[in-house]
Symmetry: C2
Subunit: 109 residues, 2 copies
DNA sequence: AAAACATATCGTAATATTGCGATACAAACT
DNA sequence: AGTTTGTATCGCAATATTACGATATGTTTT
């Protein structure tokens, strides 16, 4: 056992959970915030700014890249990462629809 | 190691990632959708509707409850779960601020 | 009190995640 | 060619997650 039974869920549910999982880590949130703030695509100076080892940062970047949330291009010696606008919009839309489907009125429990 | 170094991140980053983690599973997304649709708080008929064992559903409900996303009150024999409006709003706000901080224009990579 | 029902918890197995040192790669200088 | 620099990958250890059967708990109904 120990493995998510994705067959029994809809594609939308699986896709959304995959995107959320990619973002659901403080280091990856921090990384994304850095990328957004320095709109001049930053690269591996994250290693200095966050308190994590280079291997760890690289791994987090890879996960964000695999999920399609960021994209990277080789920029000389270093690598330039930035947000993938398409996926970001997809996430905003899917999540907006999900969160917005709850209209808080009905007092129940 | 294998344990998240939450000390090096801000409270906001940790809080958001905790909430996201709670939601980042297809079963829990499905559970939340059911709860939202049947605004008459559903309980354990989830077990019939999703293809997961009772123990598994109960565990997912517990995780959502621990994260503060849902709340449950004993309703006779069964338990009535519903969204916790406060946490839901918090999630909407925090996530909106985070996702909205990226204005997709700047073409970079 | 006993039976029936709904949930929760325990224990366990399989798998995934997190973090890092060590090492491999690749591009740009000297 | 060799060195430096930035990044990726490998291998590992510690911990977390997912799923479920079995069992416990608690609340109604008989």
């Amino acid at each position: 056992m120990g493995l998510t039974k994705s067959e029994i869920f809809t594609d939308e549910q699986n896709q959304l959970s995959t995107l959320l999982k990619a973002i659901a880590h403080p280091a990856r949130i921090a990384i994304l915030q850095r990328i957004i703030i320095s709109n001049t695509c930053i690269c591996g100076d994250l290693v200095g700014e966050l308190g994590l080892a280079q291997a760890t940062i690289s791994q987090h970047l890879k996960e964000l890249k695999t999920a399609g949330i960021i994209q990277g291009t080789i920029e000389g010696v270093s690598v330039c990462y930035c947000i993938n606008p398409k996926t970001w919009k997809l996430l905003e839309d899917q999540l907006g629809a999900f969160l917005g489907s709850y209209k808080g009125e009905t007092t129940c429990c």
